[in-house]
C-alpha cells in the first residue's frame, strides 16, 4: 500500500466539510441566481437534497471494497485494459479539477485583492504550499484541517450573524416564480460543484479507520457544507438581490462588503477571503493528492512522491491556459462542467458498482485475482 497513514472518522467528516465549501462558497451563488433568479436558494436546497443520495451511493460503492481505493478496484473489476482506461479518466478528472480550482484562486486574487500581480505567481506560490502538504501525506493534511476548522466556522458565524440587519425580505418575492424546470436547472450547479466532485473521497476512503462509520462521517460533513451553501445563497438573495448576485463572479465577497455594525465594524470582507483560502486549500490538496495517488496506483509505483513536482508543473501549466477569460469560465461552469462531472462522478462509478455486483465477489474475493 502506497499510503500508510490512517485518519479517523471525525477528520474525514471535517475534510468533507471543507472540501464541499471550498470554491463552491464563492462561485455557486452566482450560478444559482443566474439560472433560477430569486428562487436560487430553492435550487440550492434541491441540489443539497439530491447530493445526499449520491453520497449514499458513494458509500455503498466504497464499502464494498473497504481496503481499496477507487482506482485500484476499478482495475480489478473491469480488467486490465478497460480498468486502466477508466482509471485514467478518473485521474484526468482529479488533475483537471485541481487545475480549475487553482485557477479560481488566481482569478479571485487578480480580480479583487491584487489586480496588478501576474496570475502565474499567485498559482506558483499556492502550489508550493500544496506540494508540501501532499508530500507530508494524508495524516498531516487531516490534522491541519482539524486545526483550521474552528477558524472557518467562527468566520462563517460572524459573516452570517452580522448580515442579519441587512436582510430585506421583499427581495425574494415572488417566490417560485421561475417554475420547476428552472429550479432544477439551477440545482445542477450545486450538484456538480461540490457533490459530484466528492468522488475524490473514494480515493481516501480506505485510509479512514472504523469502516462502518465512514459513510455517516462523509454525509455529515457534506450536509453541513450544503447547509452553509444554502445559507450563503439565501443571504446573497436577501441582501444583494438576485440580479446583483448573478452579475458578480464572486458574490459572497461583495456580500461581506455590506457588513456594517454601528459605525465601527465595517469593511471586513477579507474574512470571506480567509474562509475561502482555507477551504480551497484543502480542496486543492485533496484533489492533487487523489490524482497523484491514483496515477501511482495505476502505474504500480512504489511511492507517489516522485510525481509531485512533475504533476505540479503540469497543473500550473493547465491552470494558466485553461480559461482565456472569465466569460469562458462562466459558460463552461454552467453548461459543460455539470455533464463532465456527471460522467466521472456518477456514470463511471455506477459502471464500477454494476461490475462489482455482477462479479458478486464483494470485498473478500476482490483481494484475490481479478474476475476478468
Amino acid at each position: 500500500m502506497i499510503e500508510k497513514g490512517k485518519i479517523n472518522a471525525r477528520q474525514f467528516s471535517i475534510l468533507t466539510l471543507l472540501f464541499s465549501l471550498g470554491s463552491a462558497i464563492l462561485i455557486v451563488p452566482s450560478a444559482l441566481t443566474a439560472a433560477a433568479m430569486q428562487d436560487g436558494w430553492i435550487s440550492a436546497i434541491v441540489g443539497v437534497a439530491a447530493g445526499i443520495p449520491l453520497l449514499a451511493f458513494y458509500n455503498a460503492l466504497g464499502s464494498r471494497h473497504p481496503d481499496l481505493t477507487l482506482i485500484e478496484y476499478t482495475e480489478r473489476l473491469l480488467g486490465k485494459w478497460v480498468g486502466k482506461i477508466v482509471g485514467l479518466l478518473f485521474f484526468s478528472f482529479f488533475l483537471l479539477l485541481s487545475a480549475l480550482v487553482l485557477r479560481n484562486v488566481g482569478d479571485f486574487i487578480t480580480t479583487i485583492v491584487m489586480p496588478e500581480t501576474p496570475i502565474e505567481s499567485v498559482h506558483f506560490i499556492l502550489l508550493i504550499a500544496i506540494a508540501m502538504g501532499v508530500g507530508l501525506g494524508l495524516e498531516v493534511i487531516a490534522r491541519s484541517a482539524e486545526i483550521f476548522l474552528p477558524w472557518v466556522l467562527m468566520l462563517l458565524f460572524f459573516l452570517i450573524v452580522f448580515l442579519f440587519p441587512q436582510i430585506e425580505m421583499d427581495r425574494i418575492q415572488p417566490v417560485f416564480e421561475s417554475g420547476v424546470k428552472t429550479i432544477v436547472r439551477g440545482s445542477l450547479s450545486v450538484i456538480s460543484i461540490p457533490y459530484l466532485e466528492l468522488v475524490v473521497f473514494l480515493m481516501i476512503y480506505p485510509y479512514v479507520g472504523k469502516p462502518d462509520r465512514r459513510g455517516a462521517a462523509m454525509i455529515k460533513g457534506a450536509l453541513i457544507g450544503g447547509t452553509v451553501l444554502v445559507l450563503i445563497t439565501m443571504l446573497c438573495v436577501f441582501v444583494l438581490g438576485w440580479d446583483f448576485t448573478s452579475r458578480h463572479t464572486f458574490p459572497s465577497y461583495t456580500l461581506a462588503k455590506k457588513i456594517q455594525v454601528g459605525e465601527f465594524l465595517q469593511r471586513i470582507e477579507v474574512l470571506v477571503a480567509i474562509i475561502w483560502f482555507l477551504t480551497i486549500f484543502f480542496k486543492l490538496v485533496l484533489c492533487f493528492y487523489a490524482s497523484l495517488l491514483g496515477l501511482a496506483q495505476l502505474l504500480k509505483m512504489n511511492s507517489y512522491r516522485p510525481l509531485i513536482v512533475p504533476c505540479a508543473m503540469i497543473v500550473l501549466m493547465v491552470s494558466i491556459v485553461v480559461y482565456p477569460n472569465i466569460v469562458y469560465f462562466r459558460i463552461f461552469a454552467s453548461e459543460i462542467w455539470p455533464f463532465y462531472a456527471l460522467t466521472t462522478g456518477f456514470l463511471l462509478p455506477l459502471l464500477v458498482w454494476a461490475a462489482s455486483l455482477i462479479s458478486s465477489t464483494g470485498d473478500t474475493a476482490s483481494k484475490s485475482r481479478p474476475p476478468a
Binding site: F124, N302, P306, V309, P310, C311, M313, I320, F339, Y340
Partner: protein
Amino acid sequence: MVWIVLAAAACVVRFEYVRLYRRKQFKDLSISACLLGFAATLFILRSAHVPIPDPLDWIGAVYKPASKFILSALS
C-alpha cells in the same frame, strides 16, 4: 516564469532522482522523468509563444450536444 520552473525541475533531478537511482527504483524514476520532461517541454514551448491546447475545449466538444439537449429541455 519558465526559469523558475526549470530551476525547480533541476532541483528534482539533482536531489530526488539521485536518491531514487541509489535505491534502484528505476520504474518510479523513469515515469517521473517522462512527466517532468513533458511538463518542462510545455513551459519551454509557452515561453516561445507556441499556443498550448486547452483541454477544456476538448471536453466542451465532447459534451456540447448532450448539454444543449438537456439544458433546452430544462428551460
